[in-house]
Amino acid sequence: MLSFIGRRLIASLVVLLAATYVMYVLTAYSGDPLEDLRTSTARNKEQLIEHRIQVLNLNIPPYFRYFIWLKGILAGLIGQLDLGKNLIGQPVDALLASAVGHTLQLVTSATLIAILLGVIVGVATALRQYSGFDYTVTFISFLFYSLPVFWVAVLLKQYLAIGFNDFLVSPQVSPLAIIVCTLLAAFIWSGILGGTWRRRGIVAAISGGATALVLLLINLTHWFENPSIGLIFGAILGVGTALIVTSLSTGLDNKRARNSSLAVVLLGLILWLPFDAISKFLLAPAVFGIAAGFVAIGVAIGWFNGGVDRGPVARTSGITALIMAGIIGVDRFMQAWQPYFNSSYVSGRPFATVGSSTPNLQGSFWVMGVDTFTHLLLPTLALLLIGFAGYTRYSRASMLEIMDQDFIRTARAKGLSERTVVMRHAFRNAMIPLTTLVAFDFAGVIGGAVITERVFAFSGMGKLFLDSLLHVDLNPVMGFFLITGTVAILFNLIADIVYGLLDPRIRVE
């Protein structure tokens, strides 16, 4: 195993070294780094050109200049990493650090949501193969897969950001929208849950009715002007979450799991108001610390209440605690909506079409969180649509293949419940091939999304790379490439190792 990792790492390093050389020479020959100065009207133009040539060694041909750059990188081995400077003399490592931060903020959430939603929908369609729901989702995921991201981005800006901002001027959901949402909810839920026509009818009626009711309540309470979840609705959501998580994770027959997760929800409801009272004074680390603490308590409740199968029970109550913490957090963010909405920098048009934050806006953790949300919503959605499509297709195909295997038939023949067959025997095995895809995606995360970041003027890695490439700014381009290349190699290696651990049939030798 160790020798496998060692050999792979050495081979990868050689490849990376060769790739940096190719990249360096290619980029250097893609244009003229002095173009902006040549066309400038500054009086000391000659001096500026001379200065840049001196600083960046532009008089040395790229074949050899590469080795100067490489020397700076190798100096990193003794702790004196030198990534060079960009055309206007800023150090590249500072540029990269800020870009990585922005990009991780954007792409991580999009990737995580895409994986989560994609896997859920993919598995659901696989279990309802050749149903109307399956065909609809298949068509939609193909459609998303075929969408050019820059085109979607402009549509999102126009219809979501500008449209929703207009809507927020007098936020009342129109009757037509209520009818459409009701029908959609009825179709989706009856499609996912499936079964006989009678059962489908009941599910459609309940889900459609609930959707219509919620939308009517939103209109009546002027929810959009002062959004919140509130204790009562929070309690309903919490109990619903506890029951759904339990039924998927251990089955509702497991009394200990059910009671533990309900206890977690109860604890969350008790702590809700005290948390709201102190939340104004909390900074980001404290908020995340409290959330982590709550999840830990949830796990502990499950562990000590779990009896013989404490592992699964702790898992169930831990997941419930995580979602419950999420509900409480979202409610708190919603309370920051009104001050944010009315602040002079936002002035009633919260959803931004470009940028990553409102300039000059100051406020508590919660207000800034809302600001980040309104800025990240559009680019995240654009990335999400495409990632979602891929994951849906993959997890559906993988799940279908597994459900056709003999061991699934055996599990059914043993008389196991459908939940156990699907969740324990099929789902886990179906997810193994997805590890490679996930690893690739997370390796790609750090590179950002070149086109998406450009359309939304989001100053992340993709934008840094593209702007530098346009100006033939070698050092930032190479810094970007070094980071993405290294991460790609590492994640590839991790994927191979994890794959070997998950699937005992595959040996990495």
């Binding site: 081979a11 990868s12 050689v14 490849v15 990376l16 060769a18 790739a19 190719v22 990249m23 290619l26 980029t27 020959y29 893609s30 244009g31 193969q129 050749y130 068509f139 193909f142 459609l143 897969y145 075929s146 969408l147 050019p148 991201v149 820059f150 085109w151 402009v154 126009q158 293949e401 056709d404 590179g447 070149v450 086109i451 450009r454 790379f465 593209l466 490439l469 346009l470 381009v477 490439f481 290349g485 790609a488």
Partner: protein, 330 residues
């Protein structure tokens, strides 16, 4: 009573017949074949072809009255004259009019530009598909067949190509070599997009080369080349065809994306991605300039994806179409 595909499989049909039948039954794929064929026909016959170099162009005229670079007087503020809603809905009736997809503020005809853009995007898609498939198949099969040192050398080379971002390739071709036109661009892009296919073909070869029929061919005295091309490759054709279609749908999005950020097809020529880039700021005033190129990209990519899906189902004997309970009861 109609026979299911699986019953037919027992009837002793050739592999090609089976694949063809399964593909013809895939409704989405068949519809896509016709739609894509229609788009190709429309794009290439309407504004005609333009071959040859810039100095000595060879023009084949099409049936559409306006050229893509021609500047016409702006009629009706450039609004599209195409009306596909019949009279009883909006009261104006069906119409095509002078400029069905509208005009931009200079007076370029929208339809002619979208058709020219679709030509470019389709051409780039097919060229990338062809170049990448040839390279991918050759590298993948040689690596998978000879294994050992050849394999690891070729696979490390593949890794090297994977790590080079395609945007850089676009930038280098576009700016340092100069504007060579979209055909050359497509060939260069093809040189950098074969990696996924090569890996798949290699995997297929690694498993196929251990099979008995390969031993039989070798014992019969067949050369390596003959074994690769006559014995193993035909058995791996399913993987190749399916991943080529998927590669092509990715290629059209790649080309439009590159043109969008300014590294792909550029003026005086147009491509669908370039048109969107040009008109994205005009969305509020002239949305049609933005809608039509986008719809054509989506339509082409969607068709290719569905054809790929149909081919995958057709080549993969494991994907069975399970008859519904109702059909079995007949």
């Amino acid at each position: 009573m109609t026979q299911t595909i699986e019953q037919n499989a027992v009837a002793g049909l050739s592999q090609a017949t089976l694949v063809r039948r399964r593909f013809l039954r895939h409704k989405a794929a068949m519809v896509s074949v016709f739609v894509l064929g229609g788009i190709i026909l429309l794009a290439f016959t309407s504004v005609g072809l333009e071959l040859g170099t810039e100095a000595t162009p060879i023009r084949v005229p099409g049936w559409y009255g306006y050229g893509y670079a021609q500047i016409n007087p702006v009629e009706n503020a450039g609004a599209p004259t195409l009306d596909i809603l019949p009279e009883f809905i909006d009261g104006t009736g069906l119409a095509v009019g002078n400029h069905p997809f509208g005009q931009d503020e200079v007076g370029h005809d929208g339809f002619a530009r979208v058709m020219r853009g679709a030509q470019q995007s389709l051409m780039v898609m097919f060229v990338i598909g062809l170049v990448a498939t040839i390279i991918g198949v050759v590298i993948g099969s040689v690596a998978g067949f000879y294994r050992g040192r050849t394999d690891s050398l070729l696979m490390r080379f593949t890794d090297l190509i994977i790590t080079i971002p395609v945007v850089v390739v676009g930038a280098v071709i576009g700016r340092s070599i100069g504007n060579l036109g979209s055909f050359i661009l497509a060939i260069f892009l093809g040189l950098f997009t074969w990696t996924g296919l090569a890996r798949l073909v290699r995997g297929e070869f690694l498993s196929l080369r251990e099979r008995e029929f390969v031993d039989a061919a070798r014992v019969a005295g067949a050369s390596d080349r003959r074994i690769i091309f006559r014995h193993i490759l035909p058995n791996a054709i399913g993987v190749v065809v399916v991943s080529t279609t998927l590669l092509m749908s990715a290629a059209i999005l790649l080309e439009t994306g590159l043109s969008f950020i300014g590294f792909g097809v550029r003026l005086p020529d147009v491509s669908l991605g370039y048109l969107i880039n040009e008109n994205q700021t005009a969305f509020a005033t002239r949305p049609w300039l933005f809608w039509y190129p986008g719809l054509f990209i989506v339509a082409i990519a969607l068709c290719v994806n569905f054809i790929g899906d149909g081919l995958r189902d057709a080549f993969d004997p494991r994907t069975k179409r399970v008859p519904k309970a109702k059909e079995l009861a007949k």
